[in-house]
């Protein structure tokens, strides 16, 4: 079985390189096969909830890609709620890049875009997608939506795709300051975009439907907060990639009933799992899902469990369903990645207070200036809270920028450090108890 899969992957990879325009259908077929596999033969080592999550995300992408008119390209922050009301799926280019790694094509696409002049120092998610589109592998959708949040690459990548491939797009300019003027400015843009898309794509927009989507979204967010709390208590085996699937869910399927039901299921299911006795990690920024050392330490590990990540819960508030456009504007403006780094550090400190992790790991993804540039500031804040923090450098997608030896040494030293620290704490506690008994 494994051999057949590998042969197919290799075959599609070769064709994507030699005859790009002919390879797409075969790629989509592969995604369909993988969808079936995750349904019928889910990974044994992970919990039921994460199995279902993986299968849902596979179906979401594989099914959307089957019908070109069913989706728009977006970035991960594009308001999927509005697209949902227009009867469209949002396929984020970051996620699509990850899916393309299934065919081991990331190196080829990254080199392709760099060879056309795109900066090697750009985010690898963007380079992969630009390469895939530019080389002619990916077909065009009718429209695309991006936000200026959370990085410079968004506007520039989508503008480049418009110029080179002719995919029209809307840029949502997310203002930096979180105040009334910004909300008004952005809410107007959201309304304008909705009307423009409905008109251009021949779709009907109903505000009541959007209100309902936001209501479901609010419920989902509450359930997710519960899930994080439960994950603190129970050993709920998952993989690094499970975190990315969860991020996909909270960005591309937010407001959908099936996603809400999945999180509800996870909240029930997790209670049937044993108590978690290992170290709890709060993860900051992206996860290099392919990275061997990190996988060996975190995948289905009873010793180290990732509790939550800022990329999954980048907005924690409640949306006002009566004013849906304003609510979506607020959601984007108050996002953890918008505004000053202090805003981000405050939210992460709040999350740390709630979830009480044993350690924080910040992964600096190659090319991501907005995240890496503040990592030292976050480290200082975590030091104040006496939470050990590790900064790892690497790449979320391009293996060539993540050196295993370096990651391994740093990670192992850090884990040894937190283990020693906790042993010390236990000894102190025991000594105190002994003293108490002696008295």
């Amino acid at each position: 079985m494994a051999n057949v899969v590998d042969l197919y992957i290799d075959y599609v990879k070769k064709q994507a390189i030699s005859q790009p325009e002919k390879s797409w259908d075969k790629m989509v077929l592969g995604f369909q096969a993988n969808k079936l596999k995750t349904k019928l033969l889910p990974k044994k080592d992970i919990s039921k909830g994460y199995q279902k999550l993986e299968s849902m995300m596979m179906s979401f992408v594989a099914d959307a890609l089957l019908k070109e008119e069913s989706y728009v390209w977006g970035n991960i922050f594009a308001p999927c709620e509005i697209m949902e009301c227009l009867g469209l799926h949002t396929l984020s280019i970051e996620c699509l890049s990850c899916y393309l790694t299934g065919y081991h094509l990331e190196d080829y696409f990254i080199d392709f875009s760099q060879n056309s002049g795109i900066a090697p120092t750009l985010c690898s998610y963007h380079k992969t997608f630009v390469g895939a589109a530019d080389s002619g592998v990916i077909p065009n959708p009718a429209y695309a939506v991006t936000t200026s949040l959370s990085c410079d690459g968004n506007l520039n990548t989508f503008r480049y795709l418009e110029k080179k491939k002719g995919v029209p797009f809307t840029l949502l300019d997310i203002p930096y300051e979180a105040d009334e003027a910004s909300v008004e400015y952005l809410a107007d843009q959201l309304k304008e975009m909705t009307m423009k898309m409905a008109d251009r794509l021949g779709k009907k927009f109903e505000e009541d439907k959007l209100k309902e989507v936001l209501r479901i979204e609010n419920e989902t967010r509450q359930e997710l907060k519960r899930f994080f709390q439960l994950q603190k208590e129970h050993f709920y085996p998952g993989e690094l990639i499970s975190q990315l699937y969860l991020m996909m869910g909270t960005h591309l399927l937010m407001g959908r009933k099936d996603f809400l039901e999945l999180i509800r299921f996870m909240n029930e299911d997790i209670r049937t799992y044993p108590k978690f006795e290992g170290k709890r990690i709060l993860w900051v920024h992206l996860l290099p899902f392919y990275q061997e050392t990190l996988r060996s330490y975190f995948n289905s590990s009873p010793d180290y469990q990732i509790l939550a990540s800022d990329i999954i819960m980048d907005f924690g508030g409640t949306l006002d369903t009566e004013e849906p456009f304003r609510a979506l504007a607020q959601k984007l403006i108050q996002n953890i990645f918008n505004g000053s780094y202090e805003h981000k550090a405050d939210i992460l400190c709040g999350l740390a207070d709630e979830l009480k992790p044993d350690a924080v790991i910040h992964f600096c993804h190659w090319g991501c200036k907005q995240a890496s540039g503040g990592s030292i500031l976050l480290n200082e804040r975590m030091q104040e809270k006496n939470i050990p923090m590790l900064i790892l450098d690497g790449d979320g997608i391009d293996k060539r920028n993540s050196h295993d030896g370096q990651i391994k040494t740093r990670l192992e030293a850090f884990l040894e450090m937190i283990q020693t620290e906790s042993k010390k704490q236990t000894q102190i506690r025991k000594a105190e108890e002994m003293e108490g008994t002696a008295c």
């Binding site: 120092t121 400015y185 540039g373 050196h403």
Partner: protein
């Protein structure tokens, strides 16, 4: 004094309050503080500003939300300099009415904050008066008889412009954010609103939504010049998109120039600009105005050596590279008389003296027999006896054409950099791409790996040819690659396989250089690394074509220099 960096900053508002405003243009020698306080991968300009602000005495800094790196710069400055006026203006990307209204309210908030900080007051009337006084300036300054160059891309610093000026090049336009005249609008009834409209209505930079105007203007402007210099800053990725797009549509020659705001990068900028100017149809290699042989006056055929034919003239080409210094002597019939290769020591001038003695001895000639000397290579300006210097890029082009006129694409891998050069049928450079500041895929890199593998550098290629199993060396960085090699050794992998893995890694890097420059056959490889059969085989496999390699691949640059010397001597005659 307040520092600022962005053309969207409301400089005139603060000036009307009596503040002296300084545009920060960092030129630093290191990023010691920035690398500790931010992250090494943040844009070099932002890191440079951080160093500059920490070193100098500003009252404060006014930033805009122009890009990710600057947003993080604000966070760091705000934390490190709590007593100064560190302010970031939320600058919209949309320049329609909604954007103007929002920006005006942001500017008003900034004014209030500064009034509170400084005790100064703002008057809209005063701003109006100041705006009335200043006028717009025209951007295009074309000159008929000079070489006209346009500058595009990210902010261009002074060193770049002064190089162009020294070369007698006319900068017809500079559409980077530092080169544009400010667009000031004066509206009598609402000076600040009008002013804000003018600010946001400037020639849009890459962060702005409205870029259609930008594209149109660039096309119009670019058509009017001889060449375009496209500047980007290291770790600022925004402009590379435009470069990638322009590369396909622009008819004019274009040079991509990446800088990092450090003083050390001057030499590299110089080489690239010179080579680019040399490649323009309107231009010829320049005179250096150096003393030496020129002042003494070239004397032809005055003294006859034993083996020297009477009345023959000779020229010398000398290529002062980072690893080796190479020289050739050529006669007027373009015949190579002799060549010599020596290791470049700490001082390139000394190696040059050494090689001059050596080659003259080999050719049985004396200094006076040489009519003209052209130097090339990194150390080309440090050779006192040269009459002229030409960049190694043009020289490699000439040299390659001399050995094999069918060659169109050259891969040159030297000690510390690698280049892809594309030629036309006359051997003139049409385009080139350089990879430097990074040892990956260079001669130094191979030396380092050979040391790690405990083999001689000359054996490395031969060993690689014996490889039976493919190993992927994935790291792009030479430091990482070295530790990857160490892990492979630790895992008992075969030396031959590791060596071949390294050769293939170099081939991959070379392939991208060649792709960027355009892959037109025939292919030639030059530089010391062309002597490594492992690398040659790996490159040939990667590009799917044979590489032409001349008997002494290290001297191609020096031969090119000699050809220039010959041409120059004939011209002078």
């Amino acid at each position: 004094m307040l520092g600022y960096i962005c053309k969207y900053a409301p400089v005139e508002v603060l000036e009307s309050m009596g503040v002296s405003m300084k545009r920060i243009e960092p030129s630093v020698t290191s990023f010691n503080q920035a690398d500790v306080l931010m992250h090494p991968n943040v844009c070099s300009f932002a890191k440079g500003v951080l160093e500059d602000v920490l070193e100098n005495d500003y009252e404060g800094v006014l930033l805009t939300t122009c890009c990710d790196s600057i947003r993080r710069l604000y966070d760091v400055l705000k934390q490190k300099l709590p007593d100064k006026f560190i302010y970031i203006l939320d600058t919209p990307r949309i320049n329609k009415d909604a954007g103007i209204a929002l920006y005006e309210s942001r500017i008003r908030a900034m004014i209030k904050a500064y009034e509170e900080f400084s005790g100064k007051t703002f008057s809209e009337e005063k701003l109006g008066e100041l705006l009335k006084e200043r006028e717009d300036q025209e951007n295009l300054h074309q000159k008929k008889h000079a070489v006209n160059i346009g500058i595009l891309g990210a902010r261009a610093d002074e060193s770049m412009k002064s190089i162009l000026e020294e070369k007698g090049v006319n900068v017809a336009f500079d559409l980077t954010c530092t080169g544009l005249a400010r667009k000031l609008l004066y509206e009598k009834d609402a000076p600040l609103t009008g002013y804000t409209r003018g600010l946001l209505g400037q020639f849009p930079c890459m962060r702005m939504e409205e870029a259609a105007n930008r594209d149109r203007l660039i096309r119009t402007y670019a058509d009017s010049v001889d060449g375009v210099l496209y500047h980007t800053v290291q770790f600022c990725d925004n402009y590379s998109y435009e470069y990638a797009w322009l590369k396909e549509i622009l008819q004019k020659p274009m040079l991509l120039l990446e800088t990092d705001n450090t003083k050390q990068s001057y030499g590299q900028i110089l080489t690239r600009i010179e080579a680019f100017l040399e490649s323009l149809p309107k231009n010829k290699p320049h005179k250096t105005g150096q003393t030496g042989a020129k002042d003494g006056g070239p004397v032809i055929g005055k003294k006859a050596g034993k083996n020297k034919e009477e009345n023959k003239m000779y020229v010398l080409g000398i290529d002062s590279g980072s690893t080796s210094t190479n020289a050739v002597i050529m006669d007027e019939n373009r015949k190579l008389i002799s060549f010599s290769v020596v290791r470049t020591g700490a001082k390139s001038g000394e190696s040059a003296e050494r090689i001059l003695k050596e080659i003259l001895k080999k050719a049985n000639l004396s200094r006076e027999d040489i009519s003209y000397i052209v130097s090339t290579g990194y150390g080309r300006v440090s050779i006192p006896f040269a009459d002229e210097n030409v960049t190694e890029i043009s020289c490699h082009g000439r040299g390659a054409h001399y050995f094999n006129p069918a060659v169109r694409t050259i891969l040159d891998i030297g000690g510390q950099d690698s280049k892809g050069i594309r030629l036309n049928e006359k051997g003139e450079v049409v385009d080139f791409v350089m990879n430097d500041k990074c040892a990956a895929g260079t001669g130094r890199f191979l030396e380092m790996i050979a040391r790690t593998l405990e083999v001689e550098i000359d054996e490395l290629g031969a060993i690689a040819l014996q490889s039976k199993t493919d190993i992927e060396i994935t790291s792009m960085c030479s430091v990482f690659a070295e530790s990857e090699v160490i892990s492979l050794i630790a895992n008992n992998r075969e030396k031959a396989d590791i060596a071949n893995g390294i050769c293939r890694a170099i081939a991959n890097k070379s392939y991208s250089l060649l792709k960027r420059v355009g892959m037109e056959p025939e292919f030639m490889m030059t530089g010391g690394v062309a002597k490594n059969p492992g690398v040659v085989r790996a490159v040939e496999e990667k590009i799917g074509a044979k590489l032409y390699i001349c008997p002494e691949p290290e001297i191609v640059g020096a031969v090119g220099a000699a050809l220039y010397a010959l041409e120059q001597w004939q011209n002078e005659r």
